[in-house]
Symmetry: C2
Subunit: 417 residues, 2 copies
């Protein structure tokens, strides 16, 4: 390893702007995050906050120099003196993977924002923080294997999770769901386990759709080993994603830590089969706490593997929606985005940039029959000149539409999805 | 029929108190309602109101004498001149049946009250009233075959309804539900059809529990004919109930009219299997409009016979509860009665006889740790002497309980049901 540039030399060079003028992330930033991803187990609130506050390069410097707070140094221990960052990046490259960091354009920031928000509610006192298996901490970086862009794949994605020891019924339904979601342009996100996970991926792949597997081990490893061929196909058509560096082993606790990413990277989570008190239930409740839609496929009440699903549907506070097919799923998660059928529930981001005046004029627009600017001014409680000033911008944003009778709300986009 | 007392003679004698000093219903009242039950098809708002306003005996006199309002006379037509009332009562007696009338102690008045309330919302103009197949009209009288008391059987009852062309899964679940509900002291109420109806009855009978079939034909008829033996057993262990007089045929529209009784006579309705747009869905929505709990058994999403069930569960406005077994059912309907686990939601009838003062003292009682009468007086906003006056009566009614630390709410009865 002596032939490789020293981490500390690299880091010294990295104490410049993390992203260059052309939008490229400085190599030292990526290398720093690679080092950080092996230095401490993911899921620690204290560690994530330390990196967030110091920045990745400075965080590595302080940890290497023993200048980090005690609580953070304790998380790294002897690994502060080790360095496999360059080797990990090379291992990744050899299996068609790369490290995607928050500084990259490709980072799925809007989706992962829910984790940042949830983490902000965590105490400053490490003893009061959620345990690592439950803490809603954003990832430090993501090892990603496959050609697709992570943000694009995750943008319209739904998690499909469930039992490993699934029944033929559950596998059939997960496969059908995966296939139908893929057909509709939605990415299936799941783990890499036997049962529902694999069936959902296979269904999506059979539809020629990309799919995204979030692993609890290195993206260069196949766990379970029998899924080697499946992972190979997922990496070719979609993405394998992990917080752990290449060669990392699938320790049991890592699956629990991983689960928050499955919830965070998707718009909603569908539980297909789950026994009573199973892990899928915890994943579903976790998704709900992150503000994600929980969807549940029911099954025969005589099946032990649907007991957990039915418990979710009986939990009024969870607000889970019963789904029997992909149309139900898209209806449930589409509310948040472009699949939306109901104009009054337009995605808020379209309105976010609007002035108070523009919002009032928009709210005054009828759904069906267009009305005059005078009428809009009367309803919105403003001057007609103001209405005339605002309408062109609203039309440009596809929010309103001019008809023979005047102005009305634009119908939602019909893209057939 | 000339040997029988004339209806009109009987009716003249009946123009006295309908219920004698010993609580017995005057024979003329029962005979009048027997006549009325054949004179017009059940389900008419105008007819029920006419009988309610005039009283059954006077209603018969006016109809026989052609002195009823036109709209009501039109419902009876030529039947005004006919009389099979005594024959019907004799036919009933021969098959072990009787006519239960609203004047009887046995009339399930508290349950059927929901129909009276719903009917009061109907227009006075017959053209504006709900069609007979949908109108929530109380029955004029009920032909009841079997030894059990109607009010006692209906008091703790749940409707179990669903598809006639059910699957083995649906029949198994309906049978299990019937068995478990019977075991817990709940009466299963259903129709007499093939499929879910029959499976639910059979399950209850197998548990040695009474069951109640609400028919759309005379209680002396077996429809479908293959259910003759089943009806015979139901009549022996429970009750066959119908609004139609003996020999009445099971016309198709009568099933729709009958459905309101299945909802009205029970605390809630469980739908076991239902295809899309099936009759069971209409029954469920009808139950909800009558203020009854709708419960739904899910099934495989691959089964056409669970599509309707899943649609009910997806309808947020319906407020249907997913149930997988009898414990879930009892939990859902028990909220309204004695199966209740939560003292603040005690059945209102226990409180109905209480004075305003007693209710205030009761509301002041804590659930766990008993408190002093002084404390209760402070919370209830009344005098301590008043509290002391009221507490013994509340204790006698098992509503409050004395502990070492003072008074608290009595725990709900633990009868293991």
């Amino acid at each position: 390893m002596t032939a490789l540039p020293s981490l500390d030399e690299d880091i010294e060079q990295g104490l410049v702007e993390p992203v260059g003028p052309d939008g490229d992330v400085a190599p030292a930033v990526r290398r720093a995050r690679a080092w950080l991803s092996r230095a401490a187990e993911p899921g620690s609130v204290a560690f994530w906050r330390f990196v967030e506050d110091a920045g990745p390069v400075e965080a590595v410097r302080r940890l290497r120099a023993g200048r980090a707070p005690d609580a953070v140094r304790a998380l790294v221990g002897a690994r502060a003196g080790q360095d496999a960052s360059l080797v990990d990046l090379q291992r990744a490259r050899r299996c068609g993977a790369r490290l995607v960091v928050p500084e990259d354009d490709e980072w799925p920031a809007p989706l992962l924002h829910c984790l940042t928000v949830a983490t902000s509610a965590e105490s400053d006192d490490p003893r009061q923080q959620s345990p690592r298996t439950l803490a809603p901490v954003p990832p430090i970086a993501l090892w990603v294997r496959g050609a697709a862009r992570l943000d694009e794949l995750a943008d319209r994605s739904v998690a499909v999770v469930g039992a490993r020891a699934s029944t033929a019924y559950g596998e059939h339904v997960a496969g059908e769901l995966g296939h139908q979601l893929g057909d509709r342009g939605w990415t299936v996100v799941s783990g890499g386990a036997y049962g529902i996970d694999a069936a959902a991926h296979r269904g999506a792949l059979a539809a020629g759709a990309p799919t995204l597997a979030v692993l609890a081990c290195g993206v260069d490893r196949a766990y379970p080993a029998a899924h080697g061929a499946l992972f190979h196909r997922i990496a070719e058509e979609g993405l394998l994603v992990s917080e752990w560096p290449p060669t990392a082993a699938p320790h049991k606790h890592r699956f629990l830590v991983r689960n928050r990413l499955i919830a965070g990277l998707t718009r909603g989570t569908v539980v297909v089969e789950a026994a009573a008190r199973s892990g899928a239930l915890a994943t579903a409740r976790r998704a709900q706490r992150l503000g994600r839609q929980v969807m549940v496929v029911p099954g025969p009440v005589t099946s032990a593997l649907s007991v957990g699903c039915h418990e979710l549907l009986r939990d009024a506070e969870l607000g889970a929606v019963l789904v029997a097919d992909a149309a139900h799923v898209v209806e449930a998660v589409g509310r948040l985005g472009e699949d939306l059928a109901d104009p009054p529930e337009r995605p808020t981001d379209l309105r976010d940039g609007l002035s108070d005046l523009a919002v009032r004029v928009l709210d005054a627009c009828p759904v069906r029959v267009g009305v005059s600017p005078e009428r809009l001014a009367a309803v919105a409680g403003c001057d007609v000149l103001d209405v005339l000033r605002v309408l062109p911008a609203l039309e440009l944003a596809d929010l309103v539409q001019r008809t023979d009778s005047g102005w009305r709300l634009a119908p939602p986009p019909e893209d057939g999805r």
